[in-house]
């Protein structure tokens, strides 16, 4: 469908990749840990190594949670746009096929938040 309008109605989208100074947006959510109220939005260069996000960025974002230190990253499984997906930690975001505004989430087996409440 289209907007009902009195004249031509066309505007550029506000959040295209060219506006982020060389970065692309990546959204990351941690399943069963709603202590963090929503998934996070990050601007990363497409050349960034995926493993550097895990080692360098996620501790700052999710480290407050007591479960975070217990994560075994070799056991986590991932979803991209809700479908199972396997990242290569040694490859860049672009090489992993991650595009601007992709959403990924990870599940950490055995870790289900504060007292198992998914918080």
């Amino acid at each position: 469908m289209a907007v009902a309008a009195v004249t031509k109605y066309e505007f550029a989208p506000a959040d295209t990749q060219d506006k982020f100074h060389g970065a692309q947006l990546l959204y990351i959510g941690w399943e069963d840990h709603l202590l963090f109220c929503a998934p996070f939005a990050f601007p990363f260069p497409p050349t960034m190594r995926f493993g550097d996000i895990i080692a360098g960025v996620l501790p700052g974002a999710f480290g407050y949670h007591p479960d975070f230190a217990k994560i075994d990253w070799s056991q986590t499984y991932w979803f991209k746009s809700g479908k199972p997906w396997t990242p290569d930690f040694d490859k860049s975001l672009a090489e992993n096929g991650l595009k601007h505004k992709d959403v990924i989430r990870f599940h950490t087996p055995g870790l289900h938040g504060i007292k198992g409440s998914c918080s």
């Binding site: 469908m1 289209a2 907007v3 009902a4 309008a5 009195v6 109605y9 066309e10 505007f11 550029a12 989208p13 506000a14 959040d15 295209t16 506006k19 982020f20 100074h21 970065a23 947006l25 959204y27 959510g29 399943e31 069963d32 709603l34 202590l35 963090f36 109220c37 929503a38 998934p39 996070f40 939005a41 990050f42 601007p43 700052g60 974002a61 407050y64 746009s81 809700g82 595009k99 601007h100 505004k101 992709d102 959403v103 989430r105 938040g113 504060i114 007292k115 409440s117 998914c118 918080s119």
Partner: protein
């Protein structure tokens, strides 16, 4: 002896006819479509504008008379409250955060509503709706002004309200109410009337004003109570206008029914998402609670809205389909919202806190199916950590819904443990949504919502720092720069209520007011 009985010159119906339709004329040397250029493009067909009549039959002369009386009443109470240092009589200083939320989130919408009704009124060829829109337009600017005036007294003493309008246009969560109204006023005049006049005023306004005003009354805030009641006395007329407009449009042509139904579906959902802020206010921010969000939803939407949609069924209008989804959220909405503000307490213009033991018990009793299981463990953890000096402040920006602009905090309908993710690819760009309803609204008019000013994305684009900021310098602190852009002072306007300047000042002043020092 013969008594001469004073007889009114005209009855109400005749006076209404004379003072509305009687003042109208048919243009002779300009075409109707040139005078009313926005009346056809939305697809609504109107055959006889004279069929519309204000059921209150209020005319402008009577309008001014009663509005003047309302203003006199309002200001006599406000003056007395101020003269008596009324602000020290509120239940406790946490209450004031409700006032901050209202002033920065709602009062600016009153002003936009004023503009919206002025515009809609100008576009309608019928004198009946035109006069009613004029009155509502004047009402709305009165509301904005009296609210600002009433709250200005609090601003002398408490933090976070000093630049509410600046905040409204910039602060991350205020983009939610702002974009809601921007969406409405950029629609055509008929959609505006259905969105604000009907869906917001008739279906949802009771959920906004009645709890807020009775909350103010319960918490000793006579200033907010009196402006609330003064505004609400106009609201009954607005609701009537909203309902009459819907009935009028539906009666004019059967082709209007599906268009109106789509607008009702859209705007009930859009309005409900904005009310997330009210849900949290009712369950968490009023030190003395009036009723729970869930109870208020059941009375004012399920019961009252149920009666309304049953009445509209004769036109072929049905209950908005989002109602089923909303019913699943009513046990969770306020808790998920308060958790969000607790997360981002460093970036808001009011204080947040963890409920105390009594308040947790109240929440458990009002939400037996959800609170203890899903939210209490989270809160107890946060409370323990805060006691250890490790209060949680989330400093990483959240992912937002493209339509409602709320962070993606809402859970799957029926599963409160999983965030609800929805997405759409449109013209090689990805868009994300909190729900099927926000996704459908986008899909219907993607050209509109691709322009959304999403605060998180704007921050990352570098558009939310004070002029002259260089984000590339070493040690750049983006949160500090964003707070400066918001005109908020870190450590004074934001963070936890515990330890705040508001808390300290209120305790000290109340002490002075009740003791000889």
């Amino acid at each position: 002896m013969d008594m001469t009985v004073a007889k009114k010159k005209l009855g109400l119906k005749e006076r209404y006819a004379v003072m509305t339709r009687g003042l109208d004329w048919t243009p002779s040397y300009q075409k109707m479509e040139d005078i009313y250029p926005y009346i056809a493009y939305e697809g609504i067909k109107i055959h006889d504008w004279d069929k519309w009549e204000d059921p209150f039959r209020l005319t402008m002369d009577a309008y001014w008379k009663y509005q003047a009386e309302k203003e006199r009443k309002l200001y006599s109470v406000l003056d007395a409250y101020t003269q008596n240092n009324g602000h020290l009589n509120v239940t406790d200083a946490r209450y004031l955060n409700t006032v901050k939320l209202f002033l920065s989130g709602i009062s600016p919408l009153e002003y936009v509503a004023h503009r919206g009704f002025a515009h809609a009124g100008r576009q309608f060829p019928g004198p009946g709706p035109r006069v009613a829109c004029l009155m509502q337009s004047v009402d709305e600017i009165r509301h904005a002004q009296t609210q600002v005036h009433a709250v200005s007294n609090y601003n002398k003493y408490y933090n976070g309200m000093h630049d509410f309008h600046h905040a409204h246009d910039r602060v991350w969560f205020l983009s939610v109410p702002k974009s809601f109204f921007d969406d409405a006023i950029t629609a055509g005049p008929f959609e505006f009337m259905v969105s604000i006049g009907f869906s917001f005023e008739y279906v949802l306004t009771n959920l906004l004003f009645v709890p807020f005003v009775s909350g103010a009354a319960y918490n000793g805030d006579m200033a907010a109570m009196t402006f609330g009641f003064s505004a609400q006395s106009d609201e009954a007329r607005h609701m009537t206008l909203g309902l009459e407009v819907i009935k009028f449009i539906l009666e004019q042509d059967p082709d209007n029914v599906p268009i109106v139904q789509r607008w009702i579906d859209k705007w009930t959902w859009r309005g409900y998402r904005v009310l997330t802020l009210v849900a949290m206010m009712m369950d968490y921010m009023l030190p003395k609670r009036t009723m729970s969000w869930k109870e208020s939803w059941e009375i004012y939407f399920e019961e009252n809205g149920g009666a309304l949609f049953k009445d509209l069924a004769r036109y072929g209008i049905t209950m908005p389909k989002c109602a089923e989804h909303i019913a699943l959220e009513k046990d969770h909405l306020s808790h998920q919202a308060w958790s969000t503000f607790y997360n981002y307490g460093a970036a808001s213009n009011f204080h947040t806190w963890m409920p105390d033991e009594d308040e947790m018990a109240w929440l458990s009793s009002k939400y037996p199916n959800s609170f203890d299981k899903h939210y209490r463990p989270r809160y107890e953890f946060w409370r323990e950590q805060a006691a250890k000096g490790n209060r949680f402040y989330n400093k990483t920006l959240p992912m937002l819904c493209q339509t409602c602009q709320i962070p993606m905090i809402f859970t799957e309908p029926g599963d409160p443990t999983k965030i609800c993710y929805r997405e759409v690819d449109y013209k090689n760009e990805k868009y994300h949504f909190c729900s099927d309803h926000c996704k459908e609204i986008f899909e219907h008019e993607p050209e509109k919502y691709v322009q959304a000013w999403l605060p998180v994305h704007q921050i990352y684009q570098g558009n939310c720092f004070p002029e002259g900021t260089d984000p590339t310098v070493e040690g750049f602190d983006p949160l500090a720069a964003v707070l400066k852009y918001y005109h908020l002072e870190h450590g004074r306007d934001n963070l936890d209520f515990e330890g705040s300047e508001d808390q300290k000042n209120f305790a000290e002043w109340r002490g002075q007011a009740t003791k000889n020092v």
